[in-house]
């Protein structure tokens, strides 16, 4: 029988992790030696957040096979709960990294809970219907956060839902030492920016460990079985709702953690940042990187996030070039002719390998 050595899949996972570590070391060294200008350095944390967003969305779209258009909603839940956590604990926990870690955990937990609640109705649907309903939920979350007034003082946290727009920060009745954390449509203001590139790197690594190890477990295989053939999956005793929920909630939790990191990177942040466009942007990263391809999501995110900045010199043509690159990549990676040609080529390679093995 075959020896149980490191499988091909695991080797590929480790390679992805090694690539991320290498990139982190190189970029950190560059940063320390002043090799990055201000705008480049400012992109580091958001890039990390978007990588986590893309990898986690790939879990829903690529691995589970359900098109979700509301991923930014989970990011915003994480962002605002994370900001509130970090800001309200500013005095109690002086250590910024610890507060940041706590904020990300709280962001992940809240996003997971919201993901679970949304998942109950949404995961009964499939295809276009599921996509549209996730889109709607993403917008609902954004609108709800726009109504949110939050402040903290010596008596604790004060929260108001300002549904009809008649109330403002004064209605929070904060004490003398109080401060407003979230100001309705203006969003979070005066946030201490405690997010760091290192935290972003650690979050990416955690995300990779969670998603990759999940994929190569019985749970991950069950999730992919549901995607590939729902009836066959049920026939071998797999609970479809359970594994759909597992993938969806995990994906939401990771997006929540990314949101918390993102939120604590800006002193001012409005909920409108996490709109439909952001969801689509992340979806573009996922589709371009390849559905179900984790490494592809990371590469696509880095390239597509940096590309518009790198093209700044072309000013007027920037978005045009961006769009053309998108279309070209889509066509070449998803074109059935090119795909079948590639498959044939791969099969040929495999057969030759087999022949060599037999000859040996």
């Amino acid at each position: 029988m075959k020896k149980l050595s490191i499988s091909k899949g695991t080797r590929s996972d480790l390679l992805t992790c090694a690539g991320v570590i290498l990139a982190f070391v190189v970029v950190s060294a560059l940063k320390a030696n002043g090799g990055l200008n201000r705008s480049q350095a400012g992109m580091l944390v958001p890039v990390c957040c978007y990588i986590v967003m893309a990898v986690s969305l790939n879990l829903t779209v690529g691995i589970l096979g359900d098109l979700s258009l509301g991923h930014a909603g989970f990011m915003s839940v994480g962002a605002f709960t994370g900001i509130i956590t970090a800001m309200s604990l500013a005095e109690k926990i002086p250590s910024a990294p610890l507060r940041l870690a706590l904020a990300m955990v709280v962001g992940a937990v809240f996003a997971a809970v919201i993901g679970f609640l949304i998942g109950i109705p949404v995961l009964r649907l499939s295809g276009d219907y599921l996509a549209i309903v996730t889109l709607a939920f993403g917008e609902i979350i954004k609108e709800l956060i726009t109504c949110l007034l939050v402040g903290v003082d010596e008596r604790g946290l004060h929260v108001i839902f300002n549904f009809n727009g008649s109330r403002n920060a004064n209605d929070l009745n904060l004490g003398a030492a109080g401060r407003v954390i979230v100001k309705g449509a203006q969003g979070a203001t005066g946030t201490q920016t405690i997010a760091t590139f290192t935290a972003g790197f650690i979050l990416i690594m955690i995300t990779l460990v969670v998603v990759q190890n999940l994929i190569r477990s019985r749970q991950g295989r069950a999730i992919m079985a549901v995607r590939d053939n729902r009836i066959a999956a049920e026939a071998v005793g797999i609970s479809v709702t359970r594994y759909k929920m597992m993938a969806f909630v995990t994906s939401a939790a990771l997006a929540g953690a990314a949101g918390a990191l993102f939120g604590l990177n800006y002193s001012n942040l409005a909920a409108t940042k996490f709109d439909f466009n952001t969801s689509i942007l992340v979806l573009v990263f996922v589709v371009l990187g390849g559905l179900g391809n984790i490494r592809g999501s990371i590469i696509a995110t880095v390239v597509l996030y940096i590309l518009p900045e790198a093209l700044r010199g072309f000013a007027n043509y920037r978005m045009l070039i961006y769009a053309v690159v998108l279309i070209v990549v889509m066509l070449t990676t998803n074109n059935p002719v090119i795909k079948s040609y590639r498959d044939q080529w791969q099969q040929k390679l495999r057969r030759e390998k087999g022949r060599e093995a037999n000859a040996a």
Partner: protein, 306 residues
């Protein structure tokens, strides 16, 4: 057979009484149903509860009664055949047994327990595994992964243990891989373990589906046209395999097949279906001699010519 004495009970009225009596949660309990046994079990299984009993099972699609008044009992180690012309309702019966379709009336007892309120997934865990007439493999996943998915409920580690790669994960994965390879070797598929299931030839895909179904550790295996698309030598091997599976795992097998040679050779009991109704039931010899069966297959005129 003693069971015949129970025939006096009219099943239809028994259901009616039961339905009106027990609301809600009460219904979930196993029903004590008067069993109308019209099937003969193999001698060795006769004194045990049948693994499967269908009583007055039926389903209608709109006005079409695809299956009607279907009664069957299956011994615990019996190999039985379900035959009939195209569109007779054979696959529909498999879909009823696995709860892909909800029966419009009738009862299914698996090992004596009513599965009326079980889902497809629960039915599998209770002991029914199946293959599909139009092969349903996980095409893009490897042959080995297909069987590992079949072993899903035989592994017991949590998601946290998987993500943190705890010892239980490694141990369960190792055991599962070894078992999966054993199932594959039963069907001579071990060399193809790493290939995508979709790249296998047709006959091998059918065998992989059986391996995957077996991996779920069933007590009843349903095979929907397992020999379809196989050449004569593959079919001969399949016949041996089916008998061997029954002998090794001591399970019941119910198969749908158009290959009469296969059915007549390995099935101990055969039910013939036409237009959703059983028109004959018995041993292969009974069936061969039954004029109603010949008529169903050859038409009235053809039967007269014989």
């Amino acid at each position: 057979m003693t069971a015949n004495s129970l025939r006096v009970l009219n099943p239809q009225s028994a259901w009616a009484a039961e339905d009106s009596a027990a609301p809600g949660a009460e219904k979930k309990k196993t029903k004590l149903v008067p069993v109308v046994r019209t099937s003969y079990l193999p001698e060795r299984d006769a004194d045990k509860t049948p693994i499967l009993e269908c009583i007055d099972l039926g389903i209608s699609f709109g006005g079409l009664k695809a299956v009607d008044n279907f009664n069957l009992a299956l011994g615990r180690t019996e190999i039985a055949g379900l035959i009939g012309p195209n569109g007779a309702g054979k696959t529909t019966i498999f879909n009823l047994l696995t709860k892909v379709y909800q029966p419009t009336h009738g009862t299914i007892l698996l090992d004596g327990k009513d599965i009326a309120y079980s889902s497809t997934e629960q039915v599998n865990r209770a002991g029914i595994a199946r293959t599909f007439q139009n092969i349903r493999l996980f095409h893009n996943q490897s042959v080995l992964d297909n069987v590992l998915i079949g072993l899903h409920n035989e592994m017991h580690y949590t998601m946290a243990e998987a993500v943190l790669r705890m010892p239980r994960y490694w141990k369960a994965e190792k055991v599962a891989r070894e078992r999966a390879m054993e199932y594959l070797s039963l069907f001579h598929l071990e060399e193809h373990a790493d290939e995508p299931a979709g790249s296998l030839p047709y006959g091998a895909q059918r065998r992989l589906e059986i391996a995957r179904a077996l991996a779920t550790n069933p007590s009843l295996l349903l095979l929907d046209e397992p020999a379809a698309g196989m050449n004569p030598s593959e079919t001969a091997e399949l016949m041996e395999n089916i008998v061997r599976i029954r002998d090794t795992f001591q399970i019941a097998i119910l198969l749908i097949e158009h290959d009469m040679n296969l059915v007549m050779n390995i099935c101990e009991g055969i039910a013939v279906l036409n237009f959703g109704r059983i028109i004959a039931k018995g041993t292969p010899d009974d069936i061969r001699a039954n004029p109603a069966v010949i008529e169903a297959y050859l038409g009235r005129k053809g039967a007269q010519k014989l």
